[in-house]
Symmetry: C2
C-alpha cells in the first residue's frame, strides 16, 4: 500500500488512529485462532459511521482488502488479514446509546463489549441471553459478524435471534439501515439476519439494535456424573423429550474433567466418564420443579451421582469451571485447536463416540466438551504447531470429524464461523450450488471483492491452509 493511500486514511481518522509501524501491524496480524497469521498493510480505527464510510470508499476505489474486527476472539481465523490490506478496528464505536425499557431493546455501537451489555441491561432487570465463551472481551460487532452462540443457546437461541436492526456501510461507502425496533417487520428481504453471521464479507456494521427479555428471577444449577457417556447423552435427550427446556445443558468428557480439575480444583470426581452441568432459570417455583424433574431423569438414565448446587455461589462456581475448560485445556500443550462440529441433539452420543474413535485412529489428543442441549460440541485438540507431522494428523482427524458431523445431519460449524479455517469444508454442508449462490449474494454487496477476501469461500481446494507470518501482506494500491 503506497504512502498516498495511507495519507488518505490518516486524513480520515487522524494520525493517531492510523497505525502502520511493524509492531503495530503485528498486533493485528492474528486473532484467537491458532496457526493463522498474516500482516496487514495498515490498521485504522474510525470513531464514527462517517469515518467508516470514508475508509470504505478509499478501499473500494483502490481495491484494497478490508478486514473489520473487534477484539478478534473468533476461532475460525475470520479476522486474520490473509491478503493484507486494511484492518478496520471497530473498538472505538463502543457507545451504548440507549436501553429502551418500553420496547425492550438496546442500541449500541459494534465495539461494545458483550459482558458490558450484559451488565448494563441486567442492572435494569433485563436480559441479553447470548453468552459466548469470550464474552468478557468479545465485542458485540464480532458477535454479530460470527452469529455468536454460547451456553444459553438451548433455551434462548443465538445472536441472530436477538438482532432486530442494523446500520451498516457497504463497500461503496453507502450507509444503510435495516430493521429497527418493530417486533414484526416484513418490508423487503431480511438483510438484518443476512448480515448476522456474514463474517465481515458483506458490509461493516456500525450500529446494532438488539432485543431484550425480562431477566429471569431465579436460577439453579445441577450437576450429574456418569460412568457411561451414552447415559449422559440419553439423559439430555430424555429431558427435552419430556418437554423441559433448560437454559443450559453442558457436557464434559472424562479428559476435560481431569484437566479442568487440575486447573480449577473444584472437586470433580476423576473416576467418571462424563458429566452434565445443567442450569434452569425462570420463576423460583418453576425452576425448583424443573430441577427436581431433571434430577429424577438423570438418575433414571444412569447418573451415578446427581447434585443440586446449594447456593447461587456454588452454581456460579460450577459454571465458571465449565467456562474455564478452554483455558484449562490450553495449558496442556502449546497449541489448542477448538472446533465446533454440531449435530441435531438426538445424535449427540453417536458424535461423541465417533470423536473418540477418530482421535484414536490418528493418535491425537482430543477432549470433548460443549453445549449438549443444542448438539453443539467442542472437540478440542491439544497439540504443538511446531510438530508438523502431528499437525498433519490433527488436520486429518478434524476433516474426518466434520464428515462425521455432516453424515449425522449436522454441520461443520455451530457457532465459530467458517472464516478461513473451515472455508475448505463449506461445500460439505451447503454444496457447490449453495456456495455459488452465496458468492452471487456477496457480489450483490461487494462487487470488487474487497470485504474480508478469502474468508468463508475457499480460494482453492486445499483444506486447512496454514498461513505463516510475513508470508502475506501483499502490496495493494
Amino acid at each position: 500500500m503506497n504512502n498516498e493511500i495511507k495519507r488518505e486514511l490518516s486524513a480520515i481518522v487522524g494520525e493517531r488512529w492510523m497505525l502502520d509501524t511493524p509492531n503495530e501491524l503485528h498486533v493485528y496480524s492474528y486473532d484467537a485462532t491458532p496457526l493463522y497469521q498474516a500482516m496487514p498493510d495498515a490498521v485504522v480505527m474510525p470513531a464514527s459511521v462517517e469515518e467508516t464510510a470514508a475508509i470504505l470508499k478509499v478501499a473500494n476505489r483502490h481495491r484494497i482488502p478490508i478486514v473489520s474486527r473487534g477484539s478478534g476472539t473468533n476461532l475460525c481465523g475470520g479476522t486474520v488479514p490473509t491478503e493484507g490490506g486494511i484492518v478496520l478496528v471497530t473498538n472505538r464505536l463502543n457507545e451504548l446509546y440507549e436501553i429502551d425499557q418500553d420496547n425492550l431493546t438496546a442500541t449500541f455501537g459494534p465495539g461494545l463489549i458483550t459482558a458490558e451489555l450484559h451488565t448494563a441491561v441486567e442492572a435494569l432487570g433485563l436480559f441479553y441471553p447470548p453468552d459466548p465463551g469470550s464474552m468478557r472481551i468479545s465485542t458485540m460487532g464480532g458477535n454479530v459478524a460470527e452469529c455468536a452462540g454460547g451456553m444459553r443457546g438451548l433455551k434462548y437461541g443465538v445472536t441472530k435471534d436477538y438482532i432486530m436492526g442494523l446500520q451498516a456501510v457497504l463497500p461503496s461507502g453507502e450507509v444503510l439501515r435495516f430493521g429497527g425496533k418493530n417486533a414484526k417487520d416484513v418490508a423487503g428481504y431480511d438483510i438484518t439476519k443476512l448480515l448476522v453471521g456474514s463474517e465481515g464479507t458483506l458490509a461493516v456494521v456500525t450500529e446494532i439494535t438488539a432485543k431484550l427479555l425480562p431477566l429471569p428471577k431465579a436460577k439453579q444449577t445441577l450437576v450429574a456424573y456418569y460412568n457411561d457417556l451414552t447415559d449422559a447423552a440419553r439423559s439430555v435427550q430424555r429431558v427435552i423429550a419430556e418437554k423441559i427446556i433448560p437454559a443450559t445443558m453442558e457436557f464434559l468428557d472424562a479428559e476435560t474433567m481431569r484437566v479442568v480439575e487440575a486447573y480449577a480444583g473444584i472437586g470433580l470426581p476423576l473416576d467418571m466418564k462424563a458429566m452434565l452441568l445443567i442450569e434452569q432459570d425462570g420463576t423460583e417455583m418453576q425452576v425448583e420443579q424443573d430441577i427436581l424433574r431433571i434430577a429424577e431423569i438423570c438418575r433414571r438414565e444412569g447418573a451415578t451421582e446427581v447434585r443440586t448446587a446449594e447456593t447461587p455461589e456454588e452454581g456460579a462456581k460450577l459454571m465458571a469451571a465449565r467456562r474455564a475448560a478452554l483455558s484449562a485445556l490450553a495449558r496442556v500443550k502449546p497449541t489448542t485447536i477448538l472446533e465446533d462440529a454440531t449435530v441435531p441433539r438426538a445424535r449427540l452420543a453417536e458424535m461423541v463416540e465417533q470423536v473418540g474413535v477418530i482421535a484414536n485412529k490418528y493418535d491425537v489428543q482430543i477432549c470433548t466438551f460443549g453445549h449438549a442441549g443444542d448438539g453443539n460440541l467442542h472437540p478440542t485438540c491439544m497439540t504443538d504447531e511446531r510438530d508438523k507431522e502431528e499437525i498433519h494428523r490433527v488436520e486429518q482427524a478434524f476433516q474426518e470429524i466434520f464428515h462425521a458431523a455432516i453424515k449425522l445431519g449436522g454441520t461443520i460449524t455451530g457457532e465459530h464461523g467458517v472464516g478461513i479455517a473451515k472455508a475448505g469444508y463449506l461445500d460439505l454442508k451447503v454444496g457447490t450450488g449453495g456456495i455459488e449462490l452465496m458468492k452471487r449474494i456477496k457480489d450483490a454487496f461487494d462487487p470488487h471483492g474487497i470485504m474480508n477476501p478469502g474468508k468463508m469461500f475457499a480460494k482453492d481446494t486445499r483444506r486447512r491452509v496454514v498461513v505463516n507470518t510475513h508470508e502475506c501482506g501483499h502490496k495493494h494500491g
Copy 2:
C-alpha cells in the same frame, strides 16, 4: 403462452394438473387482497420437487413469469399473476413427513395447512406458535413466503423464528437445501431466513423444517374495557415494562367492538372506547400469577372493567370474537381493506390516534384492531371498490397512515408482506439504496426476473396500482 409450452407443462405434471380453461384460470386470477386481479396463462400443480424443478426450467428457458402460491390468503396481492404466466400451486406438496420429538422439529411440504400442523404437533404435546388469522386455510408455504405473524407474536415471534431448514428450487431448476435440524449452524450465509418473507420472488420452497416448543400446560384469558384509548395503550406498555410478556395482547377500538358484537353477539359493552384481550400461557401457577398482576396493572391504568375468563371455553369464545373481527368488518361494506402498519409498541397510542385523525381528514371509515403487544395494528377500511372517488380517498388515507407509521419509527407492513399493494411504499422503510441492494440480491437468485415479477419492487412510481380483471394476462413464450 403458446400451446407447445403448455404441452411441455402437461408432460411434467400430467394433463389433469395443468389447467388453462378460462374458468380454471379465473380461480387463480386473485387472492384474498381486494382490488387486485389478473389472469394467468396456465396453472400447474406439481406433486414433487422434481416436477417443480422441471416446471421452473421450462419457465426460465422461455422467460415466463412464475407465481407460486398456496391458498392465496395473503393481503398484499402477493399471488396475483399481474404479468400473466404460470401460477404454480403447491397444495399437492402437503405431506407432513415427520415430527421429530427428540430434536423438536417438524418437516413437511409447503402445501400443508397451518392449522393441520398445529393439530398434529399439539396431539404430541408440542407447539408451533405462529397463528396467522388465516391459519385454518393458509398453507405453511404461504406462511413462509410472507413470514406470517399472528396473535402470539409478542411472546413467541413470527414464522421466521421457527423455520430451521428449507429445500428450495431456484429458477434455474437447481434444487438446494439450506439449514436443517441443528440448533446452531453458521455454515455460510443464512439463506433460510432470507427466503422466509421473500414472497416467492427468489425461489420455490418445496420442503420446510420447523422448530417446535413444548406445548404450554395452562392458558388464561383476560379482557379489559376502557373509556379512553390512551389508557389501553398505556396498559400494554406498563405490563411489558413490568417484565411480563403475555402470549397475546390484542386491541379493539370502539367501532370494531360494535361491529364484532353485531356479528358475534357475545355481550361486548357498546359504550366503551377500547378493549384489550390478553392471554397468558405457561405453567398453571405462573399463568395465575401473571394474570392477577396484569389485571392489577390494567385497573391501575384506568380500565373501567377487567374480567378473567372463568373457563377455557369462555376464553376461547373471547379469542374467537377477536379472530372474527375481519369477517365482521367485511359484512359492513362490499370492500374491506385490511392494512398492517406497525410501530414500536411504545408508540401504539400515538399511532391509533393518528389513524383516527387521518380517517376523519379523508372522510373514510377505518376501524382499528390488532396485535397491541407487538405494535402491529390493523387499520381496516370499509369501502366500496365501485366508488372510484371514495377509493381514491382511501388510498390517500392509507398513504398518510404509512407515512405516520414510518415517522414513529415503524414499518409499512408488519406481517402481510409488500406484494404489489405496498411495493410503491417500500422505499419509505428501506430507502432507494436498500431497494437497489435487494434487487441485486434478487438477481443473484433469479437473473431473468421470472419469479413473481412486479412484486415487492414497484415497476413505476405510481402507488397502489389497481389491476383490473382481463387487463393483464400478457402472452409469453
